[in-house]
Symmetry: C2
Subunit: 427 residues, 2 copies
C-alpha cells in the first residue's frame, strides 16, 4: 500500500489498472489497517511481518508475481477454497485470492447484477469492472466454482471480462459426487497444463502437496495457541494470517507463521496475552472475510471481547484438513486431493451436518463464551444454515448471536450495540 520505497505506478499501468481509482483505494486501506490492526496493544512481535506484507500487498507482492510470469510461470486467481492450490503450484503457478472485501464500483455492478447480491460477489465484480485489483489483472486464468447461485451466475458475466475456468462443485458428498469432483480436478489439471505448457509430474505434485500442507500445519500451530487463556493473539491478527495465506509466497509465509507460532507458544507458557484473561471468548462462524473486511472482528474486539476461533473459509475451513501425503503416483495423489477438498464443509452442500458439528466442537474445544454467526446479507446458503447452527448451539448450551451485514460501515453503530448487549448477557 505504501508507495514510499518503490514507484509501482509503471507496473500498475502496465497491468492495465485504473490508476486514479487504484490510488483512491490505496489511500483508504492503510487508514483501515491502522485503525483495526496497528492500534492494538500487546501484539505478537511476529505480526511485523504481516504489517510489512499489508504495506506491500499491491506493490512488492505484485512485482513478485509479475517477475514469476516473466520467468515463465503462471498466476492463477481464485475466489474459493475448493480450487486445489497443489495442482496449480505443481504446474508452475502461483495461486492468489482475488480482491473481494470492500465496496467498489457498485454503481457499475448493479447495472448487471441485482442489488440483492451478496457483498462478496458485488465486490469481486466491482474490483474487476473498476480495474483496481492488480491480482486479477496479473492472472493468466481465474478459476471459479459453482458453490452458490450468486457466484455461479455472476461468473457467466465475468467470462466477458477475463479468462475464466469454472469448476463444478457437487452439492452432496456421496460416491457419485466424488466421481464428478475428481473429474473436475482432472479437467482443471488439463486446463492448467494447456496454459502453462507443462505436464503434471508426480515429483512436482508431491512437492506441492507437502508445501501446501506445511502452510496449513503452520496455521494449525498458530491457531492451536488460541486455545490458551489469556489468548496470545487477537482474533483480528489471527484472521489476517489466514487472509494473507491466500496471497503470499507459500514457503515464506509458512516460515513466518511458524515463527509467530513459536512466539505464541512462548507467550502461552509465560501466561502472556494479547487480551486480558477475563475477556469473553468468541467463536465467529459464517461467510468468508476477504481483506480489508475486518468489520466483525473489529466490533467484537473493540468491545473488549476476543475472537478465539473462526469457523470460516478464512479460518478453520482453510487449514484444518491436510492432503494425505502417502500416495506417490499421480492418480493416487489426485484421489487424496479430491477427498481433501470435498471434505470442506461449505454451506453449499446439503446436508451439511459436518459444519454444524465443527462449530460446536470448536466452540467447546476453544472454551468459548458465545458464538457469533456472521453472515453476509443475501448469502442464502449460510443465512439459511444459520437456523441449524442456532439450534445446535442452543442445544449445546452455548449463547449465540446472529449478525447479517454487508461491507458498508453504515451499520457499525447498530452492530456494536447488538454485540455489546450479547457480551453483557454472556459475562
Amino acid at each position: 500500500m505504501s508507495q514510499a520505497a518503490t514507484d509501482y505506478r509503471p507496473m500498475w499501468e502496465a497491468l492495465g489498472l485504473d490508476l486514479p481509482g487504484h490510488d483512491a483505494l490505496l489511500s483508504a486501506i492503510p487508514l483501515m489497517y491502522q485503525d483495526a490492526h496497528l492500534s492494538q496493544a500487546n501484539r505478537p512481535e511476529g505480526m511485523a511481518y504481516f504489517d510489512f506484507v499489508m504495506s506491500e500487498i499491491h506493490g512488492l507482492r505484485i512485482k513478485e508475481l509479475v517477475d514469476h510470469k516473466a520467468a515463465g510461470g503462471t498466476v492463477i486467481g481464485t475466489f474459493c477454497l475448493y480450487v486445489p492450490e497443489e495442482i496449480i503450484r505443481a504446474l508452475g503457478g502461483q495461486c492468489v485470492g482475488l480482491c473481494a472485501g470492500a465496496e467498489w464500483a457498485y454503481g457499475e455492478v448493479e447495472r448487471i447484477l441485482p442489488k440483492n447480491t451478496c457483498a462478496l460477489i458485488k465486490s469481486f465484480m466491482g474490483f474487476k469492472l473498476g480495474k483496481v485489483c492488480p491480482y486479477a489483472e496479473a492472472c493468466d486464468l481465474i478459476v471459479g466454482e459453482t458453490t452458490c447461485d450468486g457466484k455461479k451466475k455472476a461468473y457467466e458475466l465475468f467470462t466477458d471480462l477475463a479468462p475464466l475456468h469454472v469448476m463444478e462443485l457437487p452439492q452432496m458428498k456421496r460416491p457419485e459426487d466424488r466421481v464428478l469432483w475428481r473429474a473436475e480436478i482432472e479437467r482443471l489439471t488439463a486446463k492448467l497444463e494447456e496454459i502453462s505448457g507443462r505436464n503434471l509430474t508426480a515429483e512436482a505434485l508431491a512437492a506441492a502437496v507437502k508445501e501446501v500442507n506445511d502452510k496449513r500445519r503452520a496455521l494449525q500451530r498458530l491457531n492451536a495457541a488460541r486455545r490458551a487463556s489469556p489468548v496470545p493473539i487477537s482474533g483480528k491478527d489471527a484472521l489476517l494470517a489466514v487472509q494473507v495465506a491466500f496471497y503470499d509466497d507459500v514457503p515464506r509465509f509458512t516460515s513466518m507463521v511458524n515463527k509467530i507460532a513459536d512466539e505464541l507458544e512462548a507467550r502461552v507458557a509465560a501466561g502472556e496475552g494479547a487480551m486480558p484473561k477475563g475477556a469473553p471468548r468468541i467463536l465467529v462462524t459464517g461467510t468468508p472475510m476477504a481483506i480489508p473486511n475486518w468489520k466483525m472482528h473489529d466490533v467484537i474486539e473493540k468491545l473488549g471481547a476476543v475472537v478465539v476461533m473462526e469457523e470460516l473459509c478464512t479460518g478453520s475451513r482453510y487449514y484444518s484438513q491436510l492432503v494425505d501425503e502417502t500416495p506417490t503416483d499421480i492418480p493416487g495423489m489426485i484421489d487424496v486431493i479430491t477427498d481433501k477438498y470435498l471434505d470442506i464443509n461449505c454451506a453449499c452442500f446439503t446436508p451439511n451436518q459436518g459444519r454444524i458439528d465443527d462449530v460446536i466442537r470448536l466452540a467447546q474445544d476453544y472454551k468459548v463464551d458465545g458464538i457469533i454467526q456472521y453472515d453476509l446479507q443475501f448469502c442464502t446458503p449460510y443465512q439459511i444454515e444459520a437456523t441449524a447452527v442456532d439450534r445446535a448451539a442452543k442445544a449445546a448450551g452455548i449463547p449465540v448471536l446472529r449478525i447479517d451485514t454487508d461491507y458498508s460501515s453504515g451499520d457499525m453503530g447498530q452492530l456494536s450495540t447488538r454485540v455489546e448487549a450479547f457480551l453483557e448477557m454472556i459475562e
Copy 2:
C-alpha cells in the same frame, strides 16, 4: 374451493389441516379467481372445466387423492419440473405440485428462513408450517431438488416437517453430469419402490411415458394456437392450464385440454380472438408462477395487452420436450427420461445459453411485440440471468422490460404504471 356440494371438512380435518386458517385461505382464492379469470370476456367455452377444477381444487381433487391412497396408491409431492412424473406414475403414484403461490404464515417462516428468501420458498414453507395445503398433507413423500440455494437449504429444515427425498440436480450438462443425474433418477426409483411396495416394470413405465407425453402434447396443441392473431385464448387462461397440469388427474386433464385445443383451432380458423387483434403481444419469461399467482399476467392483460407465450416452468419448459417413446426396456427408458429432464433449461444451470436461445426463438415464433422478464425478488439464478436475456433481446431488436416482484399486492400500482409505459413504447 366451493363448499356448496360436499362437506370436505371431515376430510381436511383427517388430513391434519388447520381448519380456521384453511377456511381463511379458501375464502380468499375464489375472489382472486373471479377478479383475474371469470371477469374476462370471450373466454373459450372449454375453460369451464378449469373453472370447475379451481372450484374443487382443495375438495374433489383431494378426495380423489385420498381415495387413490385408500386403494393402495401413493401421492408424491414436488416443487419442480425436474422430478420425473413418469417414474412416479409407473409405481402407482399420483404426482402433485405443492402450494406455493401466495403469502402464508410469513411470520412463522421468517423465524427460520431469512426475510430475503424468494416468495416461492417462503410460500411453500408457510403453507406447510400453517398446515393449509391439503396436497402436502396428503403426500406419502415430498421430492425436493437442489435447483437453487434457497430450496436446497430450505429442504434441510423441511425434513423435520414431512417425509422428504432430495434429488441432486447437477449444475452443468456434460456427460459426467448426465451420469450423476441418471444415478439420481435410479435412486428416486428405488425410494419410490420402497414406499409403494412395488417394482418398476417396463410395461408400466412405457404406459406412464406415453400418458405424460400425451399431456405435454395436449398442452403443445393448446399453446400452438396462441401463435394466431387475434389470439384465441388469454395468457391468464393458458397459464392456468399449465398450473393445473401439476395437480390434475393426467388422462382427464389431457382429454379436456385437447377439447380446448379443438375449440381454439376452430376459433383461429374463424378469426375469433379472446382479445382484439391489435392487442400488443407479450412473451413472459422468468420464475415459475404457482396458483394463485396470476399477478403479472393480470396486470398485463388488464392494460389491454395479451400474453401469448410463457417461457416459464409453468409454461413452455413444462411441455415443450417429450420423452422418446422408442426404448422398451427399463434401462433404455431411464436413459431417455434422464435426457429429457436434463434438457430443461432452468437458470440453475451454468452456462444456460439454451434458455436464452429459447426466449428469442419463442419471441420471434410468436411474433411478440415485447418481452417481460418476471423474476421473484431474491431468486438469484433468474435475476442474474436476466442480464443475458436483456442483452439477447436487445440484440434481436425486441423491447424488453424487467420486473422484480413478490406475491404481495403492494406493488400492483407501480407494476401497472411500468407495464403501461412499456406498452406505450412498443405500440
